[in-house]
Symmetry: C2
Subunit: 346 residues, 2 copies
Amino acid sequence: MRPTVIDIAREAGVSLATVDRVLNARPGVRAVTIGAVNDAISKLGYVRDQAAANLARSRSYRMAIVLPDSDSQFVQTLAQALTDAAQQATATRTEARLLRFPPEDMHALATLLADLPDDTAGVALMAPETPVVRDAVRALRTRDIPVVAMVSDLPNTDRDHFVGIDSVAAGRAAGDLMGRFLGPGPSQVIVLGQSMLLRDSIDRRRGFDAVMQSGFPHVEVLQTLESHGSAATLAQVMAEILRSAPHARGIYLLGSGHRALSETLATLCPDRRFVVIGHELTPHTHAALKAGRLDAIVTQNPGHLARSALRVLRARADRAAFDEGQERLRIEIVMRENLPAGPFEP
Amino acid sequence: MRPTVIDIAREAGVSLATVDRVLNARPGVRAVTIGAVNDAISKLGYVRDQAAANLARSRSYRMAIVLPDSDSQFVQTLAQALTDAAQQATATRTEARLLRFPPEDMHALATLLADLPDDTAGVALMAPETPVVRDAVRALRTRDIPVVAMVSDLPNTDRDHFVGIDSVAAGRAAGDLMGRFLGPGPSQVIVLGQSMLLRDSIDRRRGFDAVMQSGFPHVEVLQTLESHGSAATLAQVMAEILRSAPHARGIYLLGSGHRALSETLATLCPDRRFVVIGHELTPHTHAALKAGRLDAIVTQNPGHLARSALRVLRARADRAAFDEGQERLRIEIVMRENLPAGPFEP
DNA sequence: CAAGAAATGAGGTACGCCCCTCAAAAATCG
DNA sequence: CGATTTTTGAGGGGCGTACCTCATTTCTTG
């Protein structure tokens, strides 16, 4: 049997009340007595039953999950995963609200974070690291509210944890795939991005370039074309590049835009075959992989990410440690043949 | 405030005892009443407080984890993951013992399973599906002990759940990789297996062949060479095949034997470059991927597998449902650039 | 319609811990 | 040494749920 407070009291030769005072760091106990109780605790190997403690405290954890109010399928997918995880988490008295902010408005985000109630047990945040955000996160930490960064790290704040994958490494994995799929012989790769102001895109590109340069020097990686989220712009820049780079055999998509790309390619050059590699598993990329319009994606598991974020926040709120191995997200490669069953199927 | 059983009783107009009967699926309640209670539950959005429930039950779960006593690195890795997961699980009053059986001796396994105490809350088992094993598993189910199959399914027993990946699908993923890495132009693929009596190997080969045939008809997949776990045999069959199949550019390793293969290739043909694809992430394959002696592996996450097995057993013991999405293992592709950090590093 | 069976209610105890109150014991101090 | 302060003990109520017993009500069925 696991030892309980009663066993400690017996072992230490004190009353339950005293054990309780020591355990909860309440005043009015002599140092000698504290020592005796602690000795008993370590001797018996007592570990406080966190569940029972929380029950007694009738403590509940109010978490805030903060996401950009973007219509990108990746964010939508993540939001869904977080909603599911939050739903599941209610079973462990964790109540997580999903809050959204206008994607471009960091001041709105800062206000949102500043307005979080003091009883917030933790914040899971997906946001780019701008000075405004940095300050807002620091303010949270000053208020003793744990913060975990999701998807995109906030290394220069003192966030408690980052749950997600390293974008540079993800870009490297994409490069590795691209290089191997293209095979030997010279070729060119077109790189498409929404906007190169996004940190993730920059990092992915960096990793991609590094691998291509060192591992596949016979492949020329062209400059990033920015579509700014517009299908028309994409069609235009693609038309240009297809003329100027007739040897292009690969396309690397840094961010979203898979659907627009598929359509553009279908009209522009229906019978030219490209190796297309992108990021994130969404309904679009899922369908594209299945149909063979996309060869591979590099991604992270949003369900895992969501559960991990909440677990880590829970652990921080309890001031407990967490399982490093379980909380480390993997860089996943998804191709047609290892498409996970379920997520976006009818 | 979160609704409690008391709220449900009030809402449904029944007593606490009845709510309890419904919640815990105890007999003696009319269907109408059950319906009323369930309506109240969904109306109030009640979610059972697991922590309180477990506390009240003060039940501890004694699980048995049964693995072959094989020296294969995959089994060793899995055993380690299971040990870690069991360690973690003590926090949720789950005590899991690791039991091993001689890999070839299914009767020993049957005896082991039959000797499990009646208070066993669940068994996680990795074993091939032979008639003896099938009967032993059925006997467990008759004793009302939940069983989850790990790694290799036991479809013809009434095991409660399978945690692992579909070997046919894993073989397909390997085939997809092989075909794409080899590129266009005719080539041949050498397939190596320990023994084609192992179900996993057969299934992988089946998936591999299917993909190669339909997706990469220009690639000829040679007959499986069996090494029977002996490095000498491997060297011999490899020497033969390298003579008879000079166009072989790919090697598919169905099971273990990565180390022996590396050594054989290094001595037999140090400057011939093959596309090598295998299964499972172990210290050997990790090192081989890193060194470029191996191009990709198809695997499952052993940590996830271990935790999933225990979680599912817990859920079964509680007669609770579990999160399908969380318990579905993914077919992972690991290459040099997405090697997970940590597991086998110094 | 009565007897028997089934369904329901009432109430208690327990799980491990938190938190509060009040009295008793021990230590400290002038 | 007595008075004051500090430390300790004893005990109770509660958190949300499980599980048990016994009485009472309601439904079946012959």
